[in-house]
Subunit: 416 residues, 2 copies
């Protein structure tokens, strides 16, 4: 436990979310108010900005613009996908990081991201401890995938879930509009964990959901899929809505999208990309049953629709950023801020806890199998009870000319 | 000009929009208040419900649910795509319609839709006039495509435009997040008219738009597209966002999506569907320049995202429904309610006018070529001035459990 005085650095990492900037706002606003923090730096493109001494002086931003970050989607400082090598294999990056920290007297480091980013955060933390350099390091969780270990949920997930549930309700009404049959297949993000696809069941809870929901947690069979769709069509005048996770796999762990692509033709680069799954599954149904089909992909919208963010999510993301700074200033290091659900009052409340970075760095949390219905095409009440409190409330950017007024930072260079 | 007493019928037709039910609410609420209207019927699936005597007694609905229709997307009564044959070719449908109108004493008929629906409305109107059956018939405009002739704009367009502009702003931030190049191609609806794709320029007006915008009004060259993308990439660190209308065609009027599909392979049914254009264009860029690409389709979301509807659009759609009933009750027939922009006060105001049904039935309004920039990849200020007033304000369903509470009608059968 060390009470340090010096500069702080904050970086964003991994895929963008609707609320990642809310955590940034929390870190910046709290850090700027802490007397032990002499300078507040925002890294351009996360760890890359650190290695290249490319970062901004956040103290020179207007408070109004920092507050607008709360409702500005995507990573405003720029993000990165950069995997640090193990320091025992290659120390180059670590030496550079230590050099930069010393040069700018960085005594606080906050890193915002998912599994891979917490791995980065953990590696830096462990290296600096070994090197005897005092720096309080706290991870701030973020991922729409909701797959971080040890935390009740992750900032970013609830807003994506709210987008998925709301949009599915709207598409449900759209898909039912004609008195002819139609099969709509909707593809939702989530390569290994089905949390996002499971959010489709929230629309079902309101009576306007999908007939079939397939998560990556359950092995997917194309033959069973065809039969499931046929059964629903027979019951519903030829209509069926199916939601599939991009990451569904067969019992041998092969991605369905790759299998289907390979069955058609090898793509031009000899590799197959995730994506295009909805259209391929819809095509299969069209070929099999000769019905009208449509493949829909929620694509980038599900992770950047800040106009539809969950109020709970925005506020929790913001507070998680503040909490990281507070605990670091209280002398804590080598932890990630995590959420614990407190239902003791009978209603949802979220409290913070701290997890060791090395515990979260190499684990993944998927949807509990016991929350999935036995037929593998739906979610049980346990999931609804879990997810519903998270998508409550609204929080969005003010409108200017009828369109969102997102944050505009000056980004004044403070590195080299 | 005849002041008639009797029942009224209302039907929805063509593709759904975010605000088509707002017009339905306007028709129902106004009609239920008119003493000359004895019964208010809502047709199941438009003209099909009329031919099959399948319609509901709207007087039996709760007013609260009728008001919730204002913010409920898609056609709540069900829609239809049914083309009436010319009465000189086949009178069967017309005779049935006349029989139904007589049986239920229908003296008012309101039909809500786009070009094809106004054609239906016009044909019925002309037939009844010829048959000497008194019935006041008024068309209510609706189409996200905004291509109805003679009206400043169409209900449904502004909400889709607001969705496109807002979502593009969010995707613009998402697409810029890494410090690596990426080309994003976004496909927007609009087969013949580029109004929807043009709405991408509203995001550009706010500084977060697309680099390239291609409307169907301008012949599309794949070679020029590649060069345009390359130029933008060179200027922007490898980043480029392009918006394309699903209906872009080459100089010989061939749809680009069909050309690209045919070049690859004939699909399994020997025909090519619109859709998949974004992914195909993105693939082309990937092959040509070896950069990371992503194809995004705004798909059904752009026409059903009621949570992001324009307040102006919802209110105008509602009032257009009311206006149709009011003028019909004042004895007017054989017209469509249309909008005229009144800028005399210096700010946007919209007033109603009436257009003969046969004038709107067979005409299409595209984006004026003089509003498109000379290089064919953007819109001029004239378009911004035109579209910006339309996307102002917000209007959406109340939330229940954090999700929209859409209208739930009882739909009590009043036909056979």
């Amino acid at each position: 436990m060390k009470n340090l005085k010096g500069a702080c650095m904050f970086g964003q990492s991994g895929g963008p979310t609707s609320v990642i900037n809310a955590s940034a706002a929390g870190v910046f606003i709290e850090a700027l108010s802490q007397k032990n923090i002499t300078k507040v730096y925002g890294l351009a493109h996360g760890i890359k900005g650190l290695l290249e001494e490319n970062f901004y002086d956040m103290g020179k931003e207007e408070e109004k613009e920092l507050l607008l970050l709360k409702n500005t989607p995507s990573s405003n400082l720029g993000s990165v996908r950069y995997k640090l090598k193990d320091s025992s294999v290659d120390e180059t990056d670590y030496k550079k990081i230590l050099e930069v920290f010393k040069k700018y007297d960085v005594r606080y480091f906050f890193y915002n991201g998912g599994n891979d980013s917490m791995d980065t955060c953990n590696k830096i933390s462990k290296y600096l401890i070994k090197a005897g350099y005092d720096c309080n390091i706290i991870g701030v969780p973020k991922t729409i995938d909701n797959d971080l270990f040890g935390t009740d949920h992750c900032p970013g997930y609830a807003s994506a879930a709210k987008y998925i549930a709301t949009t599915l309700m709207e598409l449900n009404l759209d898909a039912k509009v004609y008195d002819k049959g139609q099969v709509v297949v909707i593809e939702i993000m989530g390569r290994n964990a089905g949390w996002l696809t499971a959010a489709a069941s929230l629309a079902g809870y309101k009576g306007l959901g999908a007939d079939l929901i397939y998560l990556p947690e359950v092995p997917f069979s194309v033959e069973k899929f065809k039969k499931d769709v046929k059964r629903v069509m027979d019951e519903n005048g030829g209509k069926c809505i199916a939601c599939v996770s991009e990451g569904i796999r067969d019992k041998d762990k092969n991605f369905i999208v790759e299998k289907l692509s390979q069955e058609k033709a090898k793509d031009n680069f000899g590799h197959t990309q995730l994506g295009g799954l909805a259209i391929q599954l819809a095509d299969l149904i069209s070929q099999e049953y000769g019905v009208k089909v449509r493949g829909v992909e929620f694509s980038l919208m599900q992770r950047s629709a800040a106009h539809l963010a969950s109020g709970v999510d925005v506020e929790e993301a913001f507070l998680a950023g503040r909490e990281a700074v507070k605990v670091a200033c209280a002398g804590i290091t080598d932890k990630m801020v995590a959420f614990e659900r407190d239902m003791s009052s009978g209603s949802y409340k979220c409290v913070f806890k701290l997890l060791p970075l090395d515990v979260v760095a190499n684990a993944e949390k998927t949807v509990p199998l016991e929350w999935i219905t036995e037929d593998g095409i739906g979610l049980k009440k346990e999931f609804i009870d879990y997810a519903l409190p998270l998508i409550q409330g609204e929080s969005k950017a003010p409108l200017e000319d009828g369109l969102p007024r997102f944050s505009k930072l000056k980004k004044i260079q403070a590195g080299k």
